[in-house]
């Protein structure tokens, strides 16, 4: 009787399976796992293979049939009871198909790694998935080279880290990515809980390491709030790739949730047909805003601006303004300035929060306007916008059309983003 508590999956994979009369029933070719949010999920099915040229497969229940896992796998049942089929039946989630050799997210270290082997906990006849092996040792074990590689390493350096350390990730800190094949089984709330431990900016970086299909799966397993944060942290090119993976409904709800200037930039990257399609599906309010933004060239004030800003009518009081700000603390746009407009949407001026935060709430807001009446026109160049922002040390600037009607505002980060990419490409050209 083997007394080792832990075994590697590579050690039992391909092992002979014998029935209760010690007759050969086939070889172990996969293990199905039941994933239900437990820290260490339990082996639920055993996938058998027999025959050399004409292969036959069978899936049997682990609990009911397995008696012992040792030098070979012993069953409680007679092999006549096993139904073999020429085609392999798939378990909901199995070690070979869905974890071994696939990429997973290491939640602790915030990176994507490839699985070399699995570390299983053995309690009587039950197996539990405990760790994921991502180290070189696992790789060598899979190649069945452990013996001589260990001897060579031991000869040169007996205390080498290679011999002592295993590169394990605990299963609770590992997130499987190949949700495409197993989407109905993995509990989304578990994935969510795991992934929410990673800051959005890191998640965005992890997404950069994934191929596009996996990107889509990982993204879908995030909640709406996290989706929005991660999405805005992605580069526009990556965003377009991701939208490609989402269905129209998912794309639309995402586009409605991110700042309108980013949404417009993104729509520009998509093919015309797709963009038009998505616009049609959007709420009219959002699509109107977006189609306005899309009409401007990318490096003009109109192309840079966002339509998320706060406005109040002429007669508004300071209390109205404070109320408005409180209501919009969650909005992605700038909330430190209130724009005062007349009933035809002409801009009369803007009141910075700094000016009225301590004022008597009953005073009219119009007393607290910023003395500088600066603005840009929709077709002004980005350089002009940048110069004005720098000159007046503003972080936001309003954008008007020819009739002085307020169209949107430009925040300094949008200008910075463009300028940095220009500066960067110039710098690269010099190299």
């Amino acid at each position: 009787m083997n007394t080792k508590f832990f075994i590697y999956f590579s050690e039992i994979l391909g092992k002979t399976v014998r029935d209760n009369h010690n007759r050969r029933a086939g070889r172990l070719c996969d293990v199905g796992i039941k994933i239900n949010g437990e820290i260490y999920p339990k082996a639920a099915q055993l996938v058998l293979k027999r025959g050399l040229f004409i292969k036959k497969f069978a899936v049997i229940d682990w609990e009911e049939s397995v008696k012992e896992v040792g030098d070979f796998i012993k069953l409680k049942i007679d092999r006549q009871q096993i139904e073999y089929a020429p085609k392999r039946m798939n378990c909901d989630f199995s070690l070979c198909r869905d974890i071994l050799d696939q990429q997973i997210v290491d939640i602790d270290n915030h990176k994507v790694v490839r699985v070399n082997d699995l570390h299983l906990l053995r309690v009587e006849s039950h197996l539990y998935l405990a760790h994921v092996d991502v180290g070189t040792r696992g790789l060598v074990r899979r190649l069945e080279w452990t013996g001589w590689v260990d001897r060579i390493v031991h000869f040169f350096s007996p205390h080498s880290a290679f011999l002592m350390q295993e590169d394990f990730i605990s299963w609770k800190n590992a997130q499987v990515l190949n949700l495409g094949r197993v989407k109905n089984v993995l509990r989304l709330d578990v994935a969510r809980q795991k992934l929410s431990q990673i800051p959005p900016i890191e998640l965005a970086e992890i997404m950069g390491d994934l191929d596009k299909v996996e990107k889509g799966h990982l993204f879908r397993s995030l909640d709406v709030e996290l989706q929005r944060k991660v999405f805005t942290d992605l580069a526009t090119a990556k965003q377009a790739e991701l939208i490609d993976q989402l269905d129209d409904k998912e794309s639309v709800s995402l586009l409605e949730n991110i700042p309108s200037d980013e949404a417009a930039d993104l729509l520009l990257r998509l093919s015309k047909r797709k963009a038009r399609n998505l616009m049609k599906l959007m709420e009219t309010k959002v699509s109107k805003k977006l189609s306005k933004l899309l009409g401007f060239s990318k490096d003009s004030a109109g192309g840079l601006m966002t339509t998320e800003y706060l406005t109040l009518p002429q007669g508004a009081l300071v209390s109205d303004a404070l109320q408005k700000i409180k209501e919009n603390t969650d909005s992605p746009g700038n909330i430190y300035n209130i724009y005062i407009i007349d009933d035809q949407n002409h801009l009369l001026g803007f009141a910075p929060l700094r000016n009225f935060i301590d004022a008597d709430p009953q005073l009219p807001l119009i007393l607290f306007l910023d003395p500088n009446k600066i603005f840009v026109r929709t077709n002004d160049k980005m350089e002009h916008v940048a110069v004005l922002l720098e000159k007046y040390k503003f972080s936001v600037i309003p954008v008007l059309n020819k009739e002085d009607v307020l169209q949107g505002v430009i925040t300094i980060d949008d200008v910075m983003e463009e300028l940095i990419s220009i500066a960067w490409s110039k710098y690269k050209e010099k190299l």
Partner: protein, 420 residues
């Protein structure tokens, strides 16, 4: 002027061309790297020893190339994964490891051949190999460490353009065009063992295992969407046509001159030297320049791409933007290939021809596996969704692959029976 540019933007034809140019690259580059030092040597020999009688084979080779490369491109666009990734995930680590091991050995000997090509071609211009080879090695290293994918791709596309040298060189040889065309479109066969070896050699150098990995990875890197797939396919097909076209002119240049006068050659550099008295200085220089361009081009791509897909398959950290300590395997492999590849060329009496022969055998053993894996992967619905091969295409693809495999195995056998 502004109006003019606006008009241009409105014109759908030009817009489509611009979109195509933005997607273009991987297919064109892969196909052209294929005409590397080894390729040019094979085509020169084919022309010099068998005249125009092997030209016809370029047409079926082009078709086979298109069919195989298209599948890679499709897998890249649909799955967003490299071929090494897909093989690892679907066939396991053992197979992947041995595949990568053979790929490394055969690519390493290819890299040696490329640096030898650099040395030989520049020696025609009077540059010592002790200057040219270290400089070429530094250039290759510098390109990757300092460049970005975009700038490097531009340099590579320019290198593709320089293959025009061979087209001019072929024309300078004044072949009898009518006869050339007739020979190209009429298949023929000689029951001569040397002819068969040459024929199989041409197929072997044109359809190589590393290309499939490189093409797929570089399309994935470009991040092309399924919607743009038609353009990707166009890029791949144009590459697959341009590369054999260049091969065609190399064969013609050598056939019109060396074959007519019965000059025997052993390498591509021999061909360049032998061309001088027959087709003039310019033809000879262009031929040598083309060899230099092709060798350097392939030497820039092979070490990097090999390091990439080995790390991809084995799950090691990869990427030139990482530090050495973060991706030791990647930089180790990359550096080893350049240092060994450039270093051995400087050794006097290094058995280069033997090494190239070894690389050809390695490729020949590898190719059947790679092609069969590709066909299995592309017909897997779980991976490809609605983009698996259509039944009719599948028949053509399997037939192509079986013929290519049979011929490559024949080449391996022939190389054992008739070594060099």
């Amino acid at each position: 002027m502004k109006q003019f540019i606006e008009n241009l933007k409105q014109n759908t034809g030009i817009r489509n061309l611009m979109i195509f140019l933005s997607v273009m690259g991987p297919g064109m580059i892969t196909a052209n790297v294929d005409n590397d030092a080894g390729g040019i040597a094979t085509y020169s020999l084919a022309g010099a020893h068998f005249g125009y009688s092997l030209l016809w084979s370029l047409i079926p080779i082009t078709l086979a190339l298109v069919i195989i490369q298209e599948m890679c491109a499709r897998m890249a666009v649909v799955t967003g994964k490299g071929l090494a990734d897909l093989i690892r995930e679907n066939f396991g680590v053992k197979i992947t490891f041995y595949l990568m091991l053979v790929l490394f050995v055969s690519n390493l000997s290819n890299v040696m051949a490329e640096f030898a090509g650099v040395a030989a071609s520049l020696e025609i211009f009077g540059v010592s190999k002790f200057i040219s080879v270290p400089l070429a090695g530094l250039f290759v290293w510098f390109l990757v460490v300092k460049g970005t994918y975009k700038s490097v791709e531009k340099i590579f596309l320019i290198a593709c353009f320089f293959y025009v040298a061979y087209i001019i060189s072929g024309s300078l040889a004044h072949p009898d065009w009518k006869f050339v065309v007739k020979q190209t479109i009429t298949p023929q066969f000689q029951f001569d063992i040397h002819y068969i070896i040459m024929l199989v050699g041409i197929i072997g150098t044109t359809i190589a295992p590393w290309m499939q990995f490189y093409l797929q990875s570089s399309i994935v890197d470009k991040g092309t969407s399924v919607e743009e797939y038609k353009l990707v396919r166009l890029d791949v097909i144009s590459g697959c046509i341009v590369a054999p076209l260049v091969a065609f002119f190399i064969v013609v240049a050598c056939a019109a001159t060396l074959f007519q006068t019965g000059v025997r050659i052993e390498t591509a550099a021999d061909a360049a030297v032998a061309l001088r008295p027959l087709a003039g200085n310019y033809a000879s220089w262009l031929f040598a320049f083309g060899l230099f361009n092709a060798s350097l081009f392939a030497a820039s791509i092979l070490p990097l791409s090999t390091a990439y897909f080995i790390c991809e398959g084995m799950g090691w950290e990869e990427g030139v933007d990482k530090k050495f300590s973060e991706a030791p395997q990647f930089f180790g492999l990359y550096t080893a290939m350049i240092v060994i590849g450039a270093g051995v060329v400087l050794f006097p009496n290094f058995p280069l021809l033997k090494i190239m022969y070894l690389s050809q055998v390695g490729n020949g053993i590898l190719l059947p596996f790679v092609l069969i894996f590709m066909l299995v992967l592309i017909n897997n619905q779980e991976i490809m969704g609605a983009y698996t091969n259509k039944p009719a295409f599948n028949v053509i693809a399997w037939l192509t692959v079986i013929v290519v495999i049979a011929l490559t195995l024949l080449m391996v056998v022939l190389s054992f029976v008739f070594p060099l």
